[in-house]
């Protein structure tokens, strides 16, 4: 296991480093397979059976089956791969971003129109602790 990382303090952010990439290799390669239309169809027809072709952990499979978008990232997924699963579901980047922040589509879109999530109060985990 690597030493503590300087970016561990970032709130609500998972940095896709070599440790994450190793843990999430099969989860991400499953997502990669969804770039082919025939694979998208096969996955949609029988999700569990399709997932069982990859040597993923049960937790990783469950995160996919339940579309736990943050869970997939915590278990080694990367957003550019999980976005391929989102596309298979007909969801845009903005739609899954809203889900990952726990907002409704409309709330998230409005936040962006108003200039996005501000940097003030969002730099470190210590600032998030104070939210109560």
């Amino acid at each position: 296991m690597a030493l503590p990382k300087e970016y561990d303090d970032l709130p609500g952010t998972i940095v896709f480093d070599a440790d994450r990439a190793r843990e999430g290799y099969h989860l991400n390669m499953f997502c990669m397979s969804l770039m082919k239309p025939q694979n998208r169809a096969a996955f949609k027809a029988a999700e569990r059976a399709y997932l069982d072709q990859w040597p993923m952990t049960e937790a990783q499979k469950q995160s996919i089956l339940t579309r736990d978008w943050n869970g997939m990232l915590r278990l080694g997924g990367n957003i550019y791969f999980t976005a391929k699963l989102a596309a298979t579901d007909g969801l845009s980047f903005q739609q899954i971003a809203a889900m990952m922040t726990g907002s409704t589509q409309d709330e998230y879109a409005q936040m962006m129109i108003k200039g996005g999530r501000p940097i003030a109060g969002n730099r470190s985990k210590s600032e998030w602790k104070n939210l109560g």
Binding site: E6, Y7, L10, P11, G12, T13, I14, V15, F16, D17, A18, A21, Y25, N28, M29, M32, L34, M35, K36, P37, R40, N70, L73, N78, I79, Y80, F81, A83, K84, A86, A87, T88, S92, F93, Q94, A97, A98, M100, T101, G102, Y108, M111, M112, I113, G115, G116, R117, P118, I119, N122, R123, S124
Partner: protein, 281 residues
């Protein structure tokens, strides 16, 4: 002798490509975005580059976790458009410039930049959205394009300084090519944005403005921005801005800003765009 005459930087947001492809350019949400590029399109139509070098990142379309090159250059004659999950974008295939691309490889590797040669590669929105923004949607792209793909997805990604120095090596390579070609180099991606996790949607206008300002007047200050600072101040995907520094490194020390555009939001992202010309033509 070939020369790099100007640099273009722009975000490469996929939703911008989708808005164009689906005829939404006049919708109130998207209209300001496309209007912001009108004068840049006029500029590049006048400049008429013979070749564009486009620095971008592959979003796990051509590459995956199987192979993660830090720097890769497309040396093929043609690059098909990737299917990113919605079917390929309805844009023309990208024609390469194998002769200049191979020459760049020859030169930068001997200059100690160990770039990966790619002879078969599909290109995704990272490359095609900037082309759409600058050229619209012609039947064919107006000039050959040399893709340079940078890993900005799997950490550690190259430092801003390394990117800046690669830009200088690319410039040296271009200038030792024995044909009179006028080259425009694109740096793409950014600006502040975070696509993932509970902090998604982060935008930092001050960071972006400072970055745009310094791109012209003090690029060396930008080469000192650490990965942690990009992550913390501008969001996890803002690290793409290191690719702008490849473009900047390929220009003269002294440049003039001929165009700038900044708009929030485009989907999840602060869209930034700048056009720089070498001050001494």
């Amino acid at each position: 002798m070939a020369r790099i005459i100007a640099g273009v930087a722009t975000s490469h947001i996929p939703a911008v490509g989708a808005a164009w492809d689906n005829g939404k350019t006049d919708e109130p949400y998207w209209q300001p975005v496309f209007k912001g590029f009108e004068r840049s399109k006029e500029w590049i139509a006048k400049v008429k580059p013979d070749v564009c070098i486009v620095v971008y990142n592959d979003h796990m379309s051509a590459f995956s976790l199987e192979i993660v090159p830090t720097f890769a250059i497309g040396c093929a004659a043609e690059f098909p458009i990737a299917d990113e999950g919605w079917g390929p974008r309805p844009v023309p295939p990208v024609k390469g410039h194998p002769e200049l691309a191979s020459h760049i490889v020859q030169s930068v590797v001997l200059d100690e930049f160990d770039i990966t040669i790619v002879n078969k590669m599909e290109v995704d929105h990272g490359l095609t959205v900037p082309l759409t923004l600058m050229f619209g949607q012609p039947k064919e792209w107006p000039c050959p394009v040399i893709p340079i793909a940078v890993n900005v997805v799997v950490y550690p990604v190259p430092t801003g300084n390394r990117c800046y120095l690669l830009g200088k090596a690319i410039r040296k390579a271009v200038e030792s090519f024995d044909k009179d070609l006028r080259v425009v180099i694109f740096g793409t991606g950014g600006m502040s944005h975070q696509l993932q996790g509970p902090r998604a949607g982060l935008i930092n206008r001050e960071f972006d403005t400072r970055f745009l300002d310094n791109l012209t007047v003090d690029p060396r200050a930008l080469t000192k921005i650490s990965h942690l600072e990009y992550l913390r101040e501008a969001g996890s995907e803002a690290i793409e801005l290191v690719m702008w520094l490849i473009m900047r490194g390929a220009l003269d020390d002294e440049v003039k800003e001929v165009r700038r555009f900044y708009h929030v939001p485009a989907s999840n992202t602060a869209l930034g765009h700048i056009v720089l010309e070498n001050a001494q033509p």
